[in-house]
Structures are given as C-alpha cells and as structure tokens.
C-alpha cells in the first residue's frame, strides 16, 4: 500500500491515493505542440521547458499571459522569442505586434531549436544539483540548506520523457537563428504598433487572425499564438490613452477565451500609472515579471549561489487555471534566469545562503521566505 503511492511520480509520500499520470501522447484529434491536461485544459509550450514545468504544463489555451518588463534588462524578449519560435517550429499560426517600424525584422532574431544530444539529457537530469563549475566538494558541507535542489526535479526515467517532451517543447539555442524557410510561412503575420493613434487596427487584425485560423469546430485542434511586445511603449501613438488600452486588453481576452489561442503581452509596467498598472495585472490570466540583476554586486554574490551565471530574475505572480476553483499555489515563485552554456535559457529556484549558519529548523522557512523577501525587497 505504501509503495502504490508513487505511481505518478509526483508524490513521494505514502498515501493510498495515486495521481493519474497525465497522458502526454498526442491523441488523434490534437496536433503536435498541444498537450492535454487535467480539468479539460489544453496547453501549448512556452518555448522554455523549465517555465512549462513551473506553470504546470505550459501556457493554457484561451488565456492571456502578461509579462511585466524591467526597463533595465531585455529579458522579456527572451521569453517572447522562445514563445514565438516554439510556435513556428510546431507550425502554429502566429501574430506578432511590436513597437518598431519593421516588425518582420524581429522574426530574424528567433532562436533555432537545439539539436538534442546525450550531454544535454545528462545535464537535465543533474539539473541544479551541481553548481556550474562543479565544485561539489565545497557544496557538500553546505548541502543541508540546499536540500531542495536535489528533490523535485524529474526523477523518473528521463529518457522516455525526453522524447515526448521534445515533441511538445523544445530547448532553443539562443545563438543560432531560426531557419529562414520556416519564417516565410503563410500563417505568420506581423503588425507594427508604432504607427497610428489608436488600437483599433491592432484589434481588427487580432480578430481576423483568430477567426481565420482557429475555429473550435471538429477536426484538428490547431493552437494559435499572439505575441505583443511592449504594448504600452512610449513610441506608440496611443500611449497616453489609458482607458483605450485597458479595453483593448479586455476585448483581446474575450476573443482569445473563445478560440484556441494564447496571447502573450509584454509591457513596461514602470511607464503606466500605478492604478492602471493594477488593472493590467488584474486582467492577466498568467502574470510574470522580469527583474534585472545588478552586476558585480559582492553582497548578492555572497547571498546567492550561482550569482555569476544569473542574468536576471523571473517572478511568477499568477498562474492561469481553468474549470477549477482550486488556485495554483507554487512552492517558489522567484526564479533566476540563467543561460546554460550561453545558449539555452534555464530557470532555477533561488538558493539563498542563510544569514546565520547555526539556525537549524528555520532553513526550510528561509528557503521559502527568501523568495518572498526577495520579492518584497526587490520590488516584484
């Protein structure tokens, strides 16, 4: 009875309940790149496998994901690029809107998927277990407070899961651009938000895109992606029309909810007034934020392990949930962004050194408190 509990691989406990393993095999009515989840949820990948895992499967179809940018760091572009590249690789229809004269040029910066190799597989299994320079002997003495690093990652046989994972989500090599022939497909559209004074044109384009490509009748489930960069950027003509922007997001949310699409919107929240910022945050189904990290900061280097490799922080404020009253509560909501081998993006939980090494039982508290204290001090 005790052993029966571990069938899903999700619980290590001893209960007689067993979690039904989520079927990751693509059924005949779904296409590649779409995964079914509990409660009738359908997921598409965000392009970053770690983020999919953190959000419980990926981006929920029919939801609006909003990312709060940090004006000091361009990491929201990494998220957007991975999201768009994943859609292109899976041949899903894509609409991109950006505050530049030539949004098509942004497509040239999309990364190509990493050619999978055994070494990558091994790296994944080891995960955050070893520090980047492999100083495990040093770490051995401080392992007690870093115990969370060694649990929680996928302990089940990684090889078989890897194949399924490759179909659903890819690791992207940020140094290699995506092949041109993939980008010249018919179902990739671009629109510039810099011209024009109103959001009417963008709204019309979104609605035609959604009705053209995605109908919820029978047949193959094609998932669509809408990516909007810096919706309230100062160079957009509608920048000062706060209420227009809010009603655009509301109507986009309604359009997306009744279609098989995910919309990812990034916005520099420092530019909005605080009351409107609250409204935007409230409208999001999934809310993430990026925070820049100061360079060559000795104090942070002492407090955080792996500080040298970090390029920023990602904070998860809200995760979309459908057909359920149960909210998603994450164990940790602040993650560090790292570039593994300088090419693929990984998200790791923060491992914060205890200030006072002698405090025993408070380490567990500190691991979770640290993420919230990080949050409050660093103004997430």
């Amino acid at each position: 009875m005790a052993a029966a509990g571990a069938s899903g691989g999700q619980t290590i406990g001893r209960s007689s309940f067993s979690r039904v393993a989520v079927s990751t095999a693509a059924s005949s009515s779904t296409s590649a790149g779409v995964k079914l989840g509990p409660n009738g949820a359908t997921f598409v990948s965000s392009g970053i496998p770690d983020l999919d895992r953190i959000l419980g499967g990926g981006f929920l179809l029919g939801s609006v994901v909003m990312v709060m940018e940090d004006s000091d760091a361009p990491h929201h572009l990494l998220l957007l690029r991975s999201f768009m590249a994943q859609g292109v690789v899976h041949k899903q229809p894509l609409l991109f809107a950006g505050p530049m004269k030539e949004p098509r040029l942004f497509l040239g910066t999309l990364p190509a998927p990493v050619a999978s190799s055994k070494e990558d597989g091994r790296q994944r299994v080891m995960g955050a277990g070893t520090s980047s320079d492999g100083r495990t002997s040093d770490e051995a003495l401080r392992i007690a407070w870093q115990y969370k690093k060694y649990f929680g990652e996928d302990k089940t046989s990684h090889a078989e899961h890897k194949d399924n994972k490759q179909e659903f989500s890819n690791d992207f090599d940020l140094r290699k651009p995506l092949e041109r022939h993939l980008l010249s497909s018919q179902n990739i559209e671009c629109i510039s938000t810099q011209d024009g004074d109103t959001l009417g044109e963008l709204q019309d384009r979104c609605s035609t895109f959604l009705s053209k490509h995605l109908r919820k009748d029978g047949g193959n489930l094609i998932a669509g992606r809408i990516a909007i960069q810096s919706l309230c950027a100062p160079q957009c003509g509608y920048f000062e029309k706060d209420w227009d922007m809010v009603s655009f997001i509301r109507s986009l949310k309604a359009m997306v909810r009744s279609s098989n699409a995910v919309a990812v919107i990034t916005f520099p929240n420092a530019i909005l007034s605080s009351s409107f910022c609250k409204r935007w945050q409230h409208l999001a189904d999934t809310l993430l934020s990026i925070k820049a990290i100061p360079d060559e900061d000795k104090d942070l280097a002492k407090l955080l392990t792996g500080y040298q490799d970090m390029v920023g922080f990602l904070h998860v404020h809200k995760v979309a949930q459908t057909n359920s009253q149960v909210p998603v509560i994450l164990e940790a909501s602040t993650f560090s962004l790292k570039l593994r081998k300088r090419r693929s993006l990984v998200l790791e939980r923060l491992n914060q050194a205890p200030v006072d090494g002698s405090a025993g039982p408070s380490h567990a508290a500190s691991a979770s408190c640290s993420s919230s204290s990080q949050g409050s001090q660093l103004d997430f």
């Binding site: 004006s71 160079q235 920048f239 820049a292 990290i293 104090d299 408070s362 408190c369 640290s370 919230s372």
Partner: protein
C-alpha cells in the same frame, strides 16, 4: 563614472544592434549641474570624434536650451580649435527661432534681415524653425549627420539638449518615436540627451529612461533630511548644491545585468570634475539587498 559613460558612447553600436543611448537626468535643485555634466559629455565626445578615436566621425547637437555660441565657447576653452569644431560638430539650432516667429515678424515688418544674432561662421549651424514637426526634425538631424566627411560608412553621434524643452512642443509618443527611430537608424553611432525629470510626470520620465541603455542621474549633494529639500535662505546649502552634486550612472549591459557607478561632480569655474567615491557605492548596494535577516527572525 563620466569617463565610463563617454567611453561607452564612443565605442558606439555593434553590428545588428541599436545605438547605445545615454539619458542624463537632473532634478530642479541641481539642474545647472546636470546641464554642465551634459556639456562635459558633449565636449568629450566632440574631441574623441575629432581625434578619430571614436566610431563616430562627428557630433550633431540638437540645441534647444542654449545658443550655439555656448558650445563653441566651451569647447574652445577645452582645447578644441575652431577648425576642428567646424569639421566635427554640426549644430541644429532650435534655440534661436524654434517656431519661426522671428522670421515671421521680420518678414511682416519688411525689414532686411540684418546681421543675424550669431555672427560666428554659420557653416555648421543650421537654424530649425518648426520644432512641432518631429518628422521634419528627424530628417534634418539625419541630413546633418550625413554631411560629415569621411570614407566608408559614416557614423555620427547625436546630442539632444534637452528633451524637456522638446516636450513643450511635441507629445511624448512622438518624441519617443523620434528617439527610437534615431537609435535604430543605421548611421547613428550613439545618442544622448538631457532631461529634467522633475518637470514631467514620473511615468514620462521613466518612459525616456526606458528608451536608454544607460542612465546618469545628477542629484543634489546635500539634502536636508527633515524637509528633503533646501532650507530656503540657508546660503551654505545653496552654495554647496550649486557647485557639487552626486552623479549616479546605471549602465544596462548587454547580458541583461545592470552596473551601478557613482561619482561626485564638482564645478569649479568653467571646469567640471568628476571624483570617484567608492565609499558611497555600498549605499547603492544596500538598497538592492534583500533584507533576509529581518524575515528569518520574524518567522521563527
């Protein structure tokens, strides 16, 4: 550090990226010092361009706040001779007659346009009379930049002084559009501007910070902790704040990390000096550190 800022702008843009942009912002209490810092950076970049050490061949100054002679004067005192000045610097004069009224008045009165106020040689000064038309302003800036001589691809640096004056005539979105278009223009090596952050809504000042890759803020040296501003009538405060200020630089690096630098700015006569002061940088770090100790004690 001011030298770091100048070097960063001097090195210019990399292939495939937008030009680096520096935003110098000052509050009203120390706005003359912010303007001086801006002048210092302008002169430094002009001399770098003149000696061929920078990616840019020349500097285009879009002058809203000062008359062109001020620049010539300052740079001459810095050691840049007038010939080099003419070769490497072009000034778009938006100060003398920004909306074309003087011209209208003169033509209405049918007076012969007698000697122009600036009697210096005008080959590198172009008077611009329609500052409300941001597209025309952009074309004029680019035309001036293309006018520099040299072989191969000609890069130029743009200095805008100041954005606060531009905002009197045009909207935030049109000026932001201008700045981002200039940054993405393939002949721009770097761009920097001055903004008085107190004069605008905080979200507009932040919008311009968003557009930059490096932010230098000039803050008053002495601030009264009780009133958080100068005690009126107290001369020592005024004197200190008119000649000293704190110069914070926030550099957004390409890998997404932010470098914080700090110096003290001293103005003595016509000279602007920057003194590095490592002791205060710890203060900057203190604010960024999460106060873990506090939380642990309260959770036990």
């Amino acid at each position: 550090m001011a030298e770091a800022a100048v070097r960063y702008l001097r090195d210019g843009r990399l292939e495939g990226e937008h030009a680096p942009a520096l935003s110098v912002s000052g509050s009203l209490q120390c706005c003359p010092l912010a303007a001086r810092a801006m002048l210092h950076v302008t002169a430094a970049l002009a001399s770098q361009a003149a000696s061929g050490k920078s990616q840019a061949r020349g500097l285009v100054i879009v002058a809203f706040d000062r008359s062109p002679e001020v620049y010539l004067d300052f740079m001459r005192r810095r050691g840049l001779d007038p010939n080099t000045f003419n070769r490497c610097v072009r000034i778009l004069d938006c100060y003398s007659d920004p909306i074309g009224w003087k011209q209208k008045i003169q033509s209405q009165q049918h007076q012969e346009s007698s000697v122009e106020p600036c009697s210096m040689d005008k080959e590198n000064v172009t008077i611009f009379r329609s500052v409300k038309d941001v597209d025309k302003l952009m074309c004029s800036i680019i035309d001036l930049g293309r006018g520099f001589e040299g072989e191969g691809k000609i890069y130029f640096t743009i200095a805008i002084e100041s954005i606060s004056s531009m905002l009197k005539h045009a909207s935030v979105s049109s000026i932001s559009g201008l700045l981002s278009n200039l940054r993405s223009h393939d002949q721009t090596s770097s761009i920097f501007w001055l903004i008085h952050s107190d004069l605008h809504e905080p979200k507009f000042s932040r919008a311009f910070e968003c557009l930059s890759t490096m932010v230098a803020s000039v803050e008053p040296a002495v601030v009264d902790s009780v009133y958080e501003e100068e005690i009126p009538g107290n001369m020592s405060f005024l004197e200190k704040n008119y000649s000293n200020a704190k110069f914070y630089v926030r550099l957004k690096r390409r890998n997404g990390r932010v470098k914080h630098l700090y110096e003290e700015l001293c103005v003595e006569g016509n000279d602007v000096k920057f003194i590095s002061s490592p002791s205060v940088s710890a203060e900057v770090n203190q604010n960024l550190l999460p106060k873990v100790g506090l939380y642990i004690s309260s959770s036990i």
